[in-house]
Amino acid sequence: MTTSLHEDKRDVVLSVQQLKKRIGRKWIIEDVTFEVRAGEIFGFLGPNGAGKTTTIRMLVDLIKPTSGKITVCGYDVNRDPEQSLRFVGAIVENPEMYSFLTGWENLEQFARMVPDIDETRIHEVVDIVGMAKRIHDKVKNYSLGMRQRLGIAQALLVRPRLMILDEPTNGLDPLGIKELRTFIRQLADEGMAVFVSSHLLSEIQLMCDRVAIINHGRVLAVDDVENLLVGRNQYVIWMTKSPERARALLEQQDGVHLVQPHEGMIDETALLGLPEDYIITEMNTDLIAKVNQALLAAGMEVEGIQRVVPTLEQLFLEMTEGGGID
Amino acid sequence: MKRKGSLWSIIALIGCLSSVLLLTGFILGVTNVLHPGSVPFTEKPVASTPEVPVDNSKAEYRIVAIGDSLTRGTGDDTGKGYVRRTVEMLEKHKREAKLLNNLAINGLRADQLVTRLDEEHIGYSLKQANLVLLTIGGNDLFQGAQSEQLSSAQLNIEYLNKKADESISSLKQVLNKIRETNKDALIVFVGLYNPFSNVKEMSTVGSSVVERWNHAAKEFMNEDANMLMIPTQDLFEHNIDKYIAADHFHPNGTGYDAIATRIVQSLP
């Protein structure tokens, strides 16, 4: 990400500077600063209640910041929503549409509120999200997935330079998540800046180019996603027919630590499909092949090896314990 | 799509037109109240008296009742009074009867009735009748007596006689006026009774003044063949407990029934 100053300036689509928000006496957002550039997928990672949604609502002028500045394509969002929001397509939380209107009528509603959007553009976005068949049905008869698609369609309607998606994978099945990922990448490749919030590290890892990590209303770090876990041990799960012997052998290996899983360490869903006698180790992933050979050499049948990303909470724990990625 | 597009514009247009129309109405309405008569299409009203439709085609009693609370029916739990009872009894005897109006007012005195008869709409109603039922005088003689403690002045025979003479002249005016308004109607006047015939101090005095009044009325009415006086003093004198209502002044249902019976018997 070493680009010249001149280029950087041109590419910044969304800029958030020293954003602060107080509600009542409580500072919900204490210090949030980051920039999103054209063509990148920017992850906004933080646990529930960290201030993600509040920040997103400030990005689209639903909430006024107490202090700080948000600009989109150089226009101040709060002072000049008429200019700045023209470049933004957003889904805040769930894509709530007028359920008593058809999908098409919903899109028409939004189209009328922005200049230069005609029926052809509506047809275009409907085709993009693949909803041509059901678009004239009432929204109340849509499934959650279809509502998501319609939400994306309305966000695309304005030909945005910045796309804001708040927890976009919520309620989607694995296939849907995969489709969405491809779709978002496609948008970024076309030069759009995509801002994605999530509380799942794994998701951000798979989807994003850069990431900002937020907790308790503060951005802890902004960096490339690859750098996020560099130099950090990861969890590897071993499955063998003879777990006791494997455990003993693993214990002797250099750079391998057996760990007792505790709550919040590993995403529970990653453990769900596993047989009972699995062994969790914390180790550098480069060592996996070597350790595997050692196990085989000792005559143990390795049934499975699985790399697991630590949860965000675990990451925070490590970041605060021994120097973060700052 | 086209159809939907036009629906909203039609509604919006209707909305705009409605608003313009209503705004006009609002401005006219406000002007009309603040500056009466300045709005076009308004004009000064002209008083006019209508033709009185008199329907003589059917042989029936067309009744207008006028007078005081007795005619109103005060004291009758059923609210019918002697007027409605009369109508009902006539109907029971297969004689057609219709009550046009009951114009009686509680507490009315004879002198008040004289002015009341000047009112246009009373005349309108009277003209249509062929039978006028009338009670008056009770309030002239005994006003206040039914509710307040009897004062010595009210027990004074001379004072009462004076009052009776005054109100008799009013009664004469009343009867004359009714006759002026309606030349042919039968006027039935229900005479007075002494409501205090069971009250020791008032029994003699009351009866005496009531007799005096009734006598004068009867004398006057004798001159007109189409006037009929229904005596009630004899009816009530010894039945006062049976016929009087809880207020010790008006008849009760039974009392009214007795009066109505007499009226029906006396009618031609």
Partner: protein, 326 residues
């Protein structure tokens, strides 16, 4: 702006609330028509269609209540005024209750102004902002490149348009439905206006005669003004309260309290500054006594206007500044 009005009109129409209102009218008006027909039949039997005798009897009945000590003085004042007015109608040989569709409409509108029409207006007004918030569509609406006051203004304009339509539709439907029973004539039938009240005396110097159609037009115009004030207040509540049901209940309670207060207001003169007590503008046209002695049309108009303007100011102020937290 026109596009925004287009949007809002469509939303109101598609939500079907407006049609429900029309349906309510179509169902209820025949009920009143039937009741009125029974009354008319009754008087026809008793008075052989001789309205003069009927009025004469009415006067006599009123006069009788004047003597009673148990009747409150305010009622007696009202009765005295009515007697004098009825007398005036008799003297000028004009039947105030000429049985026809126009008379029915006039009476119906007179009775509808304080409660019925406000309720209909409320059904649309209380929903117009709060429903966007309770369904979450407000997020879609406010993240457009349009300033918030414009969005609210479009909603208010649409509400005004529908208020006008509701008032006229009520008059029109009641004419059409009752006309089927009472006949459609009576447009040019004369009516009196301009009775001046001082205490229980009626001054007739400024009384003038006008055709029924003009009277009806004035009446609807005055009702329209009351309706706009009710609309403005409902609008404000709709902005302040997130739930449509809560905002309807709030207003219903206020209106019903108002109609109860109306009859007691004479003993509490300060009540004349409440908007509910002033809604009955048509009473000034007919010359019926106001709920508090000394109230005039000018006074009521000012009180209503102040309430309405303040409600709108609050609505706009809150809506444009408010943080949309959920």
């Amino acid at each position: 702006m026109l596009a925004l009005i287009h949007n809002e009109t469509l939303k109101v129409l598609k939500k079907k609330r407006f049609y429900v209102i029309l349906l309510i009218l179509v169902v209820l008006i025949p009920v009143f028509t039937y009741a009125q027909m029974k009354i008319a039949q009754n008087s026809r039997e008793k008075f052989d269609q001789d309205w003069r005798r009927e009025i004469t009897q009415q006067i006599a009945d009123y006069q009788n209540t004047l003597g009673s000590d148990r009747i409150p003085e305010e009622w007696k004042t009202m009765r005295r005024i009515m007697i004098q007015q009825l007398q005036y109608y008799l003297d000028h040989d004009v039947n105030p209750n000429e049985p026809n569709g126009v008379t029915f409409t006039r009476t119906f509108m007179d009775n509808a102004v304080t409660l019925f029409i406000p309720l209909l207006i409320m059904a649309i007004a209380s929903d117009i902002v709060s429903s966007e918030r309770s369904t979450g569509t407000i997020k879609m609406l406010l993240t457009r490149p349009v300033r918030r006051w414009k969005i609210l203004m479009s909603k208010w304009i649409v509400l005004m348009l529908f208020s006008g339509i509701i008032v006229l539709a009520t008059a029109l439907l009641s004419y059409l439905i009752s006309g089927a029973v009472f006949g459609y004539g009576g447009w040019s039938f004369p009516l009196f206006s301009g009775f001046n009240l001082s205490g229980s005396d009626v001054h007739v110097e400024s009384v003038h005669m006008m055709p029924s159609w003009l009277y009806l037009l004035m009446q609807c115009g005055l009702i329209w003004f009351s309706s706009l004030v009710v609309a403005a207040l409902s609008f404000m509540v709709s902005v302040l309260v997130r739930s449509t049901a809560a905002s309807i209940v709030t207003l219903m309670a206020v209106l019903i309290a108002g109609s109860i207060l109306y009859n007691m207001a004479s003993s509490w003169p300060t009540a004349k500054y409440l908007f509910m007590i002033n809604l009955n503008l048509t009473s000034y046209l007919a010359g019926s006594p106001p709920p508090v002695e000394g109230m005039t049309l000018g006074f009521s108009l000012i009180v209503l206007a102040v309430w309405g303007v303040i409600a709108l100011l609050i609505a706009f102020r809150v809506f444009t500044k408010q943080d949309m937290l959920n």
